[in-house]
Assembly symmetry: C2
Homo-oligomer: 227 residues x 2
DNA sequence: CGGTGCGTTGACATTTCTCAACTGTTGTGG
DNA sequence: CCACAACAGTTGAGAAATGTCAACGCACCG
């Protein structure tokens, strides 16, 4: 577990002795697919680091609709900002894959350690700032980019196999969830992929997407109008 | 200037000696309305605290359109996350009011101080986290809420005079800028206010808005459909 | 004054959502 | 091993929200 913690961006630069103190507050908890990790409004009993599996963080709007905020995988952490500021969870979190293993770092103890060990803060500021910038990016994206542009940007950010010609991409989540992440209706996602496939820009095979013309895709990502 | 710094959420909990070290890196710079503070992509020479006036932070999308990210007023700070992570400005910033006074905290020196003084990090983590949560809020808003709901939420968050009956609100920026902030077209903003005025929910007089029926406005803020 | 730019209004185009139906897959219990 | 339920995904038709374009009044500033 020390290894897992040491690999997290938050703790990467932490000296061993301090890392051990953090580890003393941590335990591994395993979740089943669909199982709730925490609910919006609850006091922040811990923050979390994903060891394996995947987690969806979402909010419920007053009229009951669900908005995906993050889709996180192994190596990511979440709820640290909530713990360090307001002290209660501002969203819901559920495991989306079976055998999702989380490292839970106990909140109260961590806060105490955090206040007595300023080095802990220094090590976390960089990664928190980074996350902040990525959110700024996302705000911009949601504001100006059309559904098509958001999808194109998303696909281009995904790790791809095949350097030269067609790139091979695996969607890291179900299309329905991807649609939620991009803030579009599942039907719209389906139609976009269909249209692009008809134009020979991509080839879709379930969750596998082959990018046949990265140029055009990049153009779609850049202009606000729909593809 | 020590006072200004000490009032900032970032430095509120800082001991005097350390505050003085930060102050030694700071200088006050005055900007005229419309003057550029920094541009996207530049190395992060400093971060900023607003002493008076107002600042607009925005990005330019590849096709030249402008997306407002923040509209900040006295007491707010900006560009700290950029300095602490990527080291270059991820957006443009301009002063929007004449006599906008900024406290500029020199970047290189601050980073050095930051690394030698862990207490600095502890004092900033809380406010960074807070900001992070507000961005999460904004992502959610942009994703699920209609234009009308976003406007209603915005109005309700603004400080208002008049406790009991009709609330009196002053828009802190021009309607055109407000539209950009809400990610809607200026025409849509105009039409929404018109419609609400016709229904007796608000009374608009230039930049002054009187909320005549807060109940209805709150309902509009909660449902995703348009008012 | 005359210009510059904001705010408003109207007409129209477009994107995206909603609703509904249908298909295919997956997992479960008999 | 099959039948069935549940659900993701697709497709179509129509509706709704919002953007675009254009014209105009109006205030502010030189």
């Amino acid at each position: 577990m020390l290894d897992d913690l040491g690999r997290s961006p938050h703790f990467r630069s932490l000296p061993q002795d301090l890392l051990a103190k953090v580890a003393a507050l941590a335990r591994v908890v395993r979740y089943r697919a669909g199982e709730t990790i925490f609910s919006q409004g609850e006091p922040c009993r811990a923050f979390f680091l994903i060891r394996s599996g995947a987690v969806r963080v979402y909010r419920l709007s007053p009229d009951g609709r669900e908005q995906a905020l993050h889709h996180l995988r192994a190596g990511h952490s979440f709820a640290e900002a909530a713990l360090l500021s307001i002290g209660s969870f501002p969203a819901h979190a559920v495991a989306v894959e079976k055998d999702t293993e989380l490292i839970e770092i106990e909140g109260r103890g961590f806060l105490a350690l955090f206040h007595s060990e300023p080095r802990l803060a220094s090590s976390m500021v960089g990664s928190l700032s980074m996350w902040l910038l990525s959110l700024v990016e996302r705000v911009e994206e949601l504001s100006v980019a059309s559904a098509g542009a958001r999808l194109a940007r998303y696909l281009l950010k995904l790790p791809a196999r095949g350097a030269a010609g067609p790139l091979s991409i695996e969607l890291p989540m179900a299309k329905k969830e991807l649609a939620a992440h991009l803030a579009i209706a599942p039907e719209t996602l389906s139609r976009l992929l269909r249209r692009w496939q008809d134009r020979g820009i991509v080839a879709v095979q379930g969750g596998s997407i082959e990018v046949r013309d990265a140029r055009v895709l990049e153009a779609l990502a850049d202009r606000e109008e729909d593809g």
